[in-house]
């Protein structure tokens, strides 16, 4: 579904050039859930922005669904760290924003919007404004918005990192459920090892300066996975320790 071939990204700034990414080769299968993990500044967001078509790589090329990426695509949706809701719009009209921008048939999508809001437990909140919701609820709205146009690919840049650990756990579990119902390919950036393991089919571990892929770790734990007491504690602890070592050690 997504193919990156020798992708490199160099930013020119006043104090010289920054090699944000170098020689990134990565293939993400259809319907796969990949998490990206790495220290601050190792180029995770840059990688996501390249796939989203918000940035053009200075080296190599990026393909989505077999086509070269040159601009944002309608079948790829992006979700950011912060909910990024328009404060003057109601919950429903925030969810409908992508449809409105694309000029689609609103009537048809409105039902879907209601369904999605129901799915994330926000039925009854359609006409509230964002500031009337808690942070977790806002991030749920943002999730619905990124699902409204049935994207083939979802790119998520630390979507839950501003939430408290408990809300975060809830939303991670919800995301797994949704992922199983709607088949999409997901690339998910996170700082949290726990979250990376909980969600991923594969965890891509990155190292900074220049941003490179250090290792790709397969997570072979059966789904649905949950936090807390569970049968696979040992397997989780093993992967967790492995990731920890990879991240903490010098490159």
């Amino acid at each position: 579904m997504i193919q990156l071939d020798k992708v490199g990204q160099v930013f020119e700034s006043r104090d010289g050039s920054v090699h944000a990414l170098e020689g990134i080769d990565l293939e993400v299968q259809e319907n796969e859930f990949v998490t990206l993990i790495g220290r601050s500044g190792c180029g995770k967001s840059t990688l996501l922005r390249l796939i989203a078509g918000l940035l053009e790589p200075t080296n190599g090329w990026v393909q989505v669904a077999g086509e070269l990426v040159t601009a944002p695509r309608p079948d790829v949706s992006v979700m950011f760290q912060r909910p990024a809701l328009l404060p003057w719009r109601s919950v429903l009209s925030n969810v409908m924003l992508p449809v409105e921008i694309a000029g689609g048939d609103r009537g048809q999508y409105r039902d879907r919007a209601h369904e999605l809001l129901h799915l994330v437990g926000l039925n009854g909140f359609e006409n509230k404004r964002p500031h009337e919701l808690s942070g977790g609820m806002q991030q749920r709205v943002s999730l619905c918005r990124s699902l409204i146009t049935r994207p083939k690919v979802m790119l998520m840049d630390e979507p839950f990192s501003a939430l408290d650990a408990l809300t975060r756990a809830e939303l991670s579990e919800e995301l797994q459920r949704i992922k199983m119902e709607l088949s999409t390919t997901i690339v998910f950036v996170t700082h949290s090892i726990e979250e990376a393991i909980l969600l991923a089919d594969r965890v891509v571990v990155m190292t900074p300066r220049p941003g490179q892929i250090r290792e790709i770790v397969d997570v072979r734990i059966p789904r649905p996975r949950t936090l807390g007491i569970h049968a696979d504690a040992a397997a989780v602890a093993k992967v967790s320790g492995q990731l920890h070592t990879l991240l903490m050690a010098p490159a």
Partner: protein, 264 residues
């Protein structure tokens, strides 16, 4: 991030009674001091008329003064609206083009620095005695704050929201009208609130020269015939117009932007 109220944010203290009573009290105290001063120091009323004198001056020709207030009000509002109509699109251009911004900002700063009172006679010579030069002067006075606040509001749109729209493949005009302009509205209102006080002053200044009506005209003519009380009555009406327009904008903002107060 939670929906619960932040524990330490200072709350608006209590009753709406205090909201009205305290400012009123302030005004009454000031009026009282003023009146007392005119009596205690036996100040001649052409130097400083007492509030009573001012009230009498108003009562003598309330209809006339209200008519003049209306003239000033209309000029003020027209020039103000014109500044919005011209200033907002210009701000848009400035936000879109760094070159335009670099070229126009210092020019606007320089134009803004020219005392409008010195421009007023020139406007009359160029445009005659009608409403036109007054409206233009109000426009000149309001233009700068409107442009600055609109531009800086649009520029302060969070990158995450701009990037969201980009990721949705939004066109440039969608980016500006569905996002930046809306986002800038609270800050635009800050500019409008600054501009409206200036607007009133602008129309009065314009009426000092070549006017046949309006409160500025009343102030000039009453000054020339040493009727200080009448001049004060006109100034009091100007104060009222200013405050009414200002709080009108505040109300409009509350109506239009209920999200702005709570969400920032």
């Amino acid at each position: 991030m939670s929906a619960a109220p932040e524990p330490t944010r200072p709350r608006r203290s209590g009753s709406t009674l205090a909201n009205w009573l305290l400012p009123l009290l302030g005004f009454i105290v000031v009026l009282g001091l003023w009146w007392a001063a005119t009596i205690v120091f036996a100040i001649d009323d052409f130097l400083l008329p007492s509030p009573g004198d001012v009230y009498v001056a108003f009562r003598e020709q309330p209809g006339y003064l209200l008519d003049q207030s209306l003239v000033t009000l209309i000029e003020t509002v027209e020039g103000f609206l014109l500044a919005i109509v011209a200033g907002v699109p210009l701000a848009l251009l400035i936000v879109r083009s760094v070159v335009l911004e670099r070229v126009l900002y210092p020019l606007m700063l320089a134009v803004n620095a020219i005392p409008k009172i010195a421009v007023a006679p020139l406007l009359v010579i160029w445009m005659g005695f009608g409403q036109a030069p007054k409206v233009v002067l109000v426009f000149l006075v309001c233009f700068f704050p409107v442009v600055i606040s609109t531009a800086s509001g649009m520029k302060s749109t969070p990158v995450e929201l701009v990037e969201l729209l980009r990721s949705l493949n939004a066109t440039r005009s969608q980016e500006y009208f569905k996002l930046r302009f809306q986002y800038a509205l609270p800050q635009i209102f800050v500019g409008l609130k600054t501009a409206i006080s200036l607007a009133v002053i602008g129309s009065v200044i314009a009426e000092f020269v070549g006017a046949t009506a309006g409160l500025g005209y009343v102030i000039v003519t009453s000054g020339a015939s040493a009727d200080t009380a009448l001049a004060f009555a006109a100034m009091a009406l100007l104060g009222v117009i200013s405050i009414v327009l200002f709080y009108g904008l505040v109300l409009l903002e509350k109506k239009l932007l209920p999200w702005a107060e709570e969400s920032r």
